[in-house]
Assembly symmetry: C2
Homo-oligomer: 360 residues x 2
């Protein structure tokens, strides 16, 4: 069988070149006779790897001075709590925009520690769009405004950065970070789990304006304290060194391909190919408002759900893997992150047409 195309929502497909390089360096990194996994995090070799990863990320996202980059263990769900502990004072409140399941989870975690206002929600529309900015009920005194830049399950993406005035904007960018350029200056904090566009699960990135940590003045685990982590270059304790090394390989791969402008071009082309195929048929449908459709996660349903199992079986036989939708919503979902080549999307589109032709 040729290499399958992996449409998993995360952990997800990684660049073949990155995996090949990681394999070749596994037992002997650059002639040291050691795996990166075996290196002291305080040693010169590993410190160089982490510093290069940060430098490459700063170049890719054009991160200005005045912002700190943290490489932290764990996924975005831990950061849902950490960001509230760091930024939400006990006597304050934060505004959250609710656009789907991950927004809701972020709200739930923050509510454990403080007052959350849901300033806008598209729940009534079945989470099929971003609420119109004119309908947001923002508090000018909020500690921050939080949004999920791309809902991995619902396939709803912010394609523009909303203006929220002087209140810091915090974005969960787990499933769209590095898919295209972002204007970092528009945000107080950008964070995300690594297991979509960055690297392996178990690592999160936090990019934070350096005046924000410490505002909430709360007791919290030291590891979750962004100010302390910034002071310690993400090394209050041993960071997830191998995951950071792999993230660094992905950053190099992105630079070699031409950076985020080129990735945006490729990702838009992949998304257009797939949405056009879905829209051209009444056999498939995607429920999301066209202007909010995700470039990364494309949920779709078959007009006849009784064909779902047969559809998935045929897909797997063609090497189109992990197309089953999230258990909370059913149907199908194709995740087409940076490392998914156009050929994978083309193969899926070919299969969509073939399946419709034979079963519709």
């Amino acid at each position: 069988m040729r290499k399958p195309f992996n449409f998993s929502a995360g952990p997800a497909v990684l660049p073949e070149a990155v995996l090949a390089r990681a394999a070749s360096e596994m037992s002997d990194w650059h002639g040291t006779g050691m795996s990166v996994m075996e290196m002291s995090h305080r040693g010169k070799d590993y410190m160089g790897i982490q510093a290069q990863a940060e430098a490459d990320l700063r170049e890719l996202l054009n991160i200005p001075s005045g912002y700190r980059v943290l490489f932290l263990a764990g996924g975005a769900t831990l950061q849902f709590a950490a960001l509230a502990l760091n930024l939400l004072p006990e006597d304050g409140s934060a505004d959250y925009i609710d656009t789907g399941i991950w927004s809701s989870k972020a709200i739930g975690e923050a509510q454990r520690f403080g007052t959350v206002r849901v300033a806008a929600s598209s729940k009534d529309s079945g989470y099929t769009r971003v609420p119109d900015r004119n309908d947001w009920n923002l508090d000018p005194n909020a500690a921050y405004v939080h949004l999920c830049g791309n809902e991995t399950i619902g396939g709803v993406e912010f394609h523009d950065t909303p203006d929220v005035g002087r209140v810091p904007l915090v974005v969960d960018a787990s499933s769209h970070i590095l898919s295209r350029p972002m204007d970092v200056r528009r945000y107080g904090m950008i964070y995300g789990g690594a297991q979509k566009n960055i690297g392996p699960a178990g690592l999160s990135l936090v990019i934070i304006r350096e005046d924000l940590p410490g505002r909430a003045r709360r007791a919290m685990p030291s590891i979750l304290d962004y100010g302390k982590q910034a002071e310690n270059d993400s090394m209050i304790n041993t960071p997830p060194t191998y995951a950071i090394y792999l993230a660094g390989l992905v950053f190099q791969w992105l630079k070699d391909l031409g950076g985020l402008t080129e990735m945006a071009r490729r990702n838009e082309a992949k998304a257009r190919l797939l949405y056009d195929a879905l829209d051209a048929s009444s056999f498939y449908s995607n429920p999301v408002a066209p202007e909010n459709r995700s470039w990364m996660n494309v949920p779709f349903t078959l007009a006849d759900a009784s064909l779902d199992a047969e559809f998935l079986k045929g897909a797997e036989a063609r090497g189109l893997m992990n197309l089953k939708g999230h258990r909370s919503v059913g149907g199908m979902r194709a995740s087409i992150y940076n490392a998914m080549p156009l050929e994978g999307v083309q193969a899926l589109v070919d299969y969509l047409k073939e399946f419709e032709r034979t079963r519709a």
Copy 2:
């Protein structure tokens, strides 16, 4: 150059066979055409990997039913906080035994959230022994008793499990877990970071008696809630899947070698070889009380500290790497975890003798 011997305290040497297998499976795990890193954590393949890792760990440590095994993101420092959040009620207190720098860090984190009693300390002796059990001032109503089973920096190890009555005993086993058998029933909770004897940094193991989570009834990040993690098989969110896979490979390697009884035999032999060499010379010294000397981390000093740099340079020239002591204590430290072969310790002992002969 032959493969160097890596005496790093952690991240540390891993078994060559494990690294070779990981490299060979990096791009294609068992004919799936995917890396373990690319697999959905909810998919059959990955779920099988994690289940096998747990089963093998249970077999190695003979973990009885009634104990839950959690695979959690992050290192032990995060668990210092989490265990207090889970087990230390706001109106209660916990007893801590202070035997060195890591014990002290655990105390510091717990104090952020509740009342800590230091029931015994060897600080006055310069942390060179475990305080005599008869001198411990335990509170029979303590929520738990905490100790660090092996002080990675000081090289002080508990070679017996102290009797603390009916109070749950919690042990930070980061740097000695899997080095020999443990009687899990004697503990309420055993935890540790992975980056010494288990696998890569960024993963922690928690083995906890199932009646203990939830006792403290505190607000905390969901990810740190042992009860919730147990209900969700460590998958409240995406766990550090690749690190868990590697840990599983290490568990299989340990089983293939004969399990923890065999590892104990090997580790004792390695430690004896090194301590005997240090004790046979007045040129080197180790300050730890003989009955508390660690099998895993062997700190030592040269009688003439002005030779330290030359000693380290000569060691590196012979492929004996990372022997420099922790920055907080200076001198030298040889960490000789499970994956350090006897040949590595022999090579170090040969060098100790040679260096003394030429420089003393």
